[in-house]
């Protein structure tokens, strides 16, 4: 599944997840509900990196220049990728933003929902807990 970085380089979802527990959000700059969760996602990204997990945002259907300008303006520090031709969202069968996914260290989708909420966080915490148990 090919994705783009903000500077236009190609990457894949597999490379981006890289065996880490990941909270993935599909979003767009025009989406009001996505804007509401920018700060919570920033907090989650900062705190989850300490336990080896990550937050990954994938913008759908927009140009790298537009998304890069938005990311700069809002000082978003967590990883950002692009799905400009809806390849990933089509593969996931998702036509709504925001969509939140929790992916475990093995690349399995454990949770899928809309906006970031308590259920998504519970699944994310659960996946982190499982990864720690597996490490031990």
């Amino acid at each position: 599944m090919k994705l783009q970085t903000l500077d236009g380089a190609e990457t894949t979802l597999h490379q981006a997840v890289a065996g880490r527990v990941t909270l993935l959000t599909l979003w767009a700059t025009w989406c009001d509900a996505c804007r509401d969760e920018l700060q919570p996602l920033a907090r989650l990204a900062e705190r989850s990196s300490a336990v080896g997990a990550q937050v990954l945002a994938i913008d759908v259907g927009e140009s790298p220049a537009r998304v890069a300008a938005f990311v700069r303006a809002h000082k978003l520090g967590y990883p950002q990728l692009l799905d400009p031709r809806f390849q990933l969202s089509d593969a996931l069968g998702s036509r709504r933003v925001p969509t939140t996914l929790v992916i475990d260290a093995g690349g399995n989708i454990l949770y899928r929902g809309g906006a970031l909420d308590g259920a998504a966080l519970a699944a994310f915490r659960g996946a982190i807990g499982q990864a720690r148990t597996a490490e031990r």
Binding site: P40, G93, L121, A122
Partner: protein
Amino acid sequence: MALLTALVGAGRARADGADPLSDAAILGRSPGIRVESVRVRFTQLDQAGTGYQSQAGPPEGPGSQQLVVSTPQAELVVKQGRKLSYRLEVPFDIVTAASPDAVDIVSSSSKRNEAGSIDLTTTYQSAPETAVFLRGAFHLEENFRSWTLGAGVTHAMADDNAVLSASLNEVIDWFDTYDVHGVPQGHVWRTSSNANLGLTQLLSPTTVAHVGYGGTLQRRNLGVTWNSVPLLGGGLGPELLPEVRHRHALLGRIVQALPWRGTLKQSYRLYLDSWGIVGNTLETQLYQRLGRGAYVRGLYRLHHQSAADFFTTRAAPGLEHRTADSDLDGFTAHSYGAKLVLVGSTPSVREVTFDLGFERYHRSNDLRASLYSCGLSLLF
């Protein structure tokens, strides 16, 4: 036991609060009240023409329908928390008429008339796919009061590819009544009960279709009360309208994104009512982006309607119902217009939109109007 449970509960709460990934630590408190958008608009309608219901002319008609309406309006959208939003609209109408009505002859009350409304819609997002709303409105003008109550629901289906909407509205109008000589006759009222059903469906990544139905039942005094009708034997008589009117409207619309950064909206509306009017309206709108921060919209609308069964410009005596109102006549109308929209942003305002528009309306039974508008919208 209860004390033990409380202590354990408090301990859990402290543990949850200390967890850097807890719901409270990440999601924070529910956001308070914040302004989402502010819009202001000014619209001016200049109307000219003649109609047989107007007494501003020879006794046998038709009389002038010259009219100027200036409408400043404001809209404020406020969000409370994550699920509640409020939209407040406050339009004003300042009407300057050339004396189209008998009431002007005596009181001149409609030569210049100010009117205002307050319209509040509260929307609750009960689920990611479902929103319910309640609407309340009040309209006030010199000899007219109107109250509106409404409720509705929108429900998204199939990953937002389809949206179903339904709404109910009840309007009560209470107003002064005059005879054709402008003599006050007390107060009358009417009710309008309205139901709407709509389905919007994404047909392709660039095509959206919408179908809708609206039905309205109106009862009691359905005229403006002072409209006159020229009589066959000379002189003027009052307009006599049925006390019930069933109205039905079917709407179909398709929106297609075009490869050259444009969008085409095409719609058709069929209107039928129990007074015998059948209306067909075709409308085309073309949006064309001119660059990053500007687009233009062109509009053409064709409307044709048949006359009400009891429309006449020379009423025979003894008719149960009669009207000479040009709006209830059969006619063909053309509207065309253009709008220029400029879009920008600032660090504190997500989107600033300014628009300038013009629309020209003319119809076959001698009515012409020009509509000028400008608006400013701030999205935060």
